[in-house]
């Protein structure tokens, strides 16, 4: 599961991403452990002013963020592309009640992927999210990450939308086998 990258460039945008989320008062981080989000996850675990919530399956995070909103707080769901498939019916909660919803998806099954198992869900991420009313924004380069997350945060917490920021394999690197 240990990730590719580990380059200092990758760690830098991931740290900046965490700081950006915190600057916008995101205080609940929900995730199934994942290499692609390892910096965000470890930062959230080390941060006493946020709740860092390990899930058993990603759909739990969709429901949790609805509760976060009911309580007047902001949260984010961190997941891998395969986890998107676990969320589909639960997203009817978001669409039906117009909950704001922010998720960051670390992509597999696309640019440079060597594991054939990852393609089915990786390639389905955008069509199924779009079908459930979630707007997809792709980040392809390190310099895209912060502007993209800023755009997403505005769309979600001011515009009331559901938005997925896809951290693509071009950005995070393909896992080596």
């Amino acid at each position: 599961m240990e990730s590719k990258s580990g380059t200092s460039g990758s760690a830098r945008w991931q740290d900046e991403l965490y700081d950006e989320l915190r600057r916008h008062d995101i205080t609940q981080f929900a995730y199934v452990p994942d290499a692609g989000h390892s910096v965000l996850i470890s930062r959230s675990l080390a941060d006493p002013s946020v709740h860092s919530v390990r899930l058993t399956t990603e759909q739990e995070g969709v429901a949790m963020l609805a509760g976060t909103d009911l309580g007047g707080r902001r949260g984010v769901l961190l997941m891998q592309s395969s986890g998107v498939g676990n969320c589909i019916n639960m997203l009817s909660l978001i669409k039906g009640s117009r909950f704001p919803f922010l998720t960051l998806v670390s992509m597999r099954g696309e640019y440079g992927e060597g594991n054939s198992w990852q393609f089915a869900m990786g390639q389905a991420v955008e069509p199924v999210l779009t079908a459930m009313g979630v707007i997809c924004l792709r980040a392809e380069r390190p310099e895209d990450v912060i502007p993209t997350i800023e755009a997403a945060i505005t769309m979600v917490f001011q515009g009331g939308q559901a938005v997925a920021v896809l951290l693509t394999q071009k950005l995070i690197g393909a896992k080596k086998f």
Partner: protein, 208 residues
């Protein structure tokens, strides 16, 4: 052999542990409903809590997204440590999200209580038998998931202790209420989730 034992179970009337009437037992366990922010699972429990709160502004109930109730409760309880959150849900809805019990146990917010109204059946779809009529014990699963404060309520004698657990705890509480498979109170449901969300937030946050 398996089918034989199932057949003999099915031939019995309601097992002796499913005797309470939910219309009596749920209000008795919850007591003063205004003391909680309520999340309700779909089907039976959304009727139970709609009736109890008169679909009040302290109530958000599901009519879909089965399996969401406990985790909505967790997000809300973490967001509002100053309020007591009660998730009331059925055996069918809880069976769909058993992992949520593990997730909640790890976080263990002391202001969250879960009341599972277990009638051993999928009432909304025609009272098909659920796993809990066939040997699955949801209190044991909650315990095994790591929830430290659990009780089963199967008779009138158990209600006072169950009610205490739902309100007190210095840890997340789980109460399994076993009831007979009879209908919840019939009230008109608010099926517009967006209106329900706005009403809830407006009351809690004093803005929408």
């Amino acid at each position: 052999m398996e089918s034989k034992s199932m057949a003999s179970d099915a031939a019995k009337p309601a097992a002796p542990r499913f005797v309470l009437d939910r219309r009596v037992a749920v209000p008795a366990l919850i007591g003063r409903q205004q003391d909680f922010l309520h999340i309700a699972g779909l089907a039976g429990t959304v009727y139970d809590i709609s009736a109890l709160t008169d679909s009040g502004a302290n109530f958000y109930g599901l009519a879909g997204a089965m399996g969401a109730a406990c985790m909505i409760g967790l997000g809300l309880a973490l967001a509002r440590p100053d309020k007591r959150v009660l998730v009331t849900t059925g055996d069918g809805e809880l069976l769909m999200s058993l992992g949520a019990l593990a997730t909640i146990a790890v976080m263990n917010p002391p202001n969250l209580s879960i009341l599972c109204v277990d009638n051993g059946h999928y009432g909304e779809t025609g009272y098909q038998v659920s796993h809990t009529s066939l040997g699955v014990n949801l209190e044991a699963i909650a315990q095994g998931s790591g929830i430290k404060l659990t009780r089963s309520v199967a008779s009138e004698a158990d209600i006072a202790e169950g009610a205490r657990i739902l309100r007190e705890g210095n840890a997340t509480a789980f109460v399994l209420l076993r009831v007979k498979p009879t209908d919840p109170p019939k009230v008109k449901l608010n099926l517009d989730g967006a209106v329900c969300r706005e009403t809830f937030r407006k009351a809690l946050l004093h803005h929408a």
